[in-house]
């Protein structure tokens, strides 16, 4: 998978992801979020419109990253999930834990 980090407002970043979030890419995803949070941007938006496949390894990476963001005083939000990602979020009930926004800008702007 590819991850492009966009530094948004102070303390926030949008991670534009594409490809697959599975057991192959999950470690890279976790490391990328950890670095963004460690660099002082604990409000993390994960933009998923370009992710055509996510599985339980990907969900685990999202949950781990959510915890890392919250421990640093921030949070993690999902933006623009594809149909497949939305299916997996719903089946796993993670749509109740991870707040989903229509796009990256909406997720960042709403952060008060």
């Amino acid at each position: 998978m590819d991850i492009v980090v966009h530094e948004a407002d102070a303390g926030a970043a949008v991670l534009e992801c594409s490809g697959r979030l599975n057991m192959v890419s999950a470690p890279t995803f976790r490391e990328t979020v950890a670095k963004v949070v460690g660099d002082g941007r604990p409000r993390v938006v994960v933009e998923l419109s370009g992710v055509e496949f996510m599985d339980s390894s990907g969900l685990g990476a999202l949950v781990g990253s959510l915890k890392a963001a919250r421990q640093a005083g921030g949070d993690l939000r999902i933006a623009a999930p594809s149909d497949q990602v939305e299916m997996v979020l719903k089946l796993s009930n993670m749509d109740k834990i991870l707040r989903t926004y229509p796009d990256g800008d909406a997720a960042v702007t709403d952060w008060a």
Binding site: D55, S56, S57, Q84, S92, N93
Partner: protein
């Protein structure tokens, strides 16, 4: 890695192979089976990648694992068998449940159960055999 399209079979040696080969294999299967719906493709890709991930993660026991995936696309249902030479699996897949919301693992088999009509695990001789069946929608 060895893929025989037409028979819809894939052999994997992990490492170096990983689930990327399963994604690529399924893309070739769907190309030759264009009547399989998008919903069925999504469900089967999730189920088969989850099962293969489990085999690679738990079956390898530090020495690598070989596995074979076979897919039969029928007019009413798609059936798949995944066999591997890894260690026996000590779980009852039919009892798989979602873990706590903030757990970072343990969702794989529960998700497979949700997207297939039948999921079975057997130990046959010295191999694990996973069988899934999904009625076509």
């Amino acid at each position: 890695m060895n893929a025989a399209v037409g028979g819809h079979s894939l052999d994997l040696a992990c490492p170096p192979d990983d689930v990327t080969a399963v994604h690529a294999f399924l893309a070739t299967v769907w190309d030759t089976e264009p009547t399989v719906s998008a919903e069925d493709r999504m469900a089967l890709e999730l189920a088969l990648v989850e099962l293969t991930s489990n085999v690679i993660e738990h079956g390898a026991a530090g020495r690598g694992v070989s596995c074979s995936l076979h897919l039969d696309v029928g007019s009413d249902a798609v059936e798949a068998q995944l066999t591997d030479d890894g260690v026996p699996v000590p779980v009852d897949p039919s009892a798989a449940q979602l873990p706590d919301a903030l757990a970072e693992s343990g969702r794989g088999l529960a998700l497979v159960q949700m997207v297939v009509d039948d999921l079975r695990y057997e130990r046959v001789a010295d191999r694990n055999l996973w069988t899934v069946r999904r009625g076509r929608h």
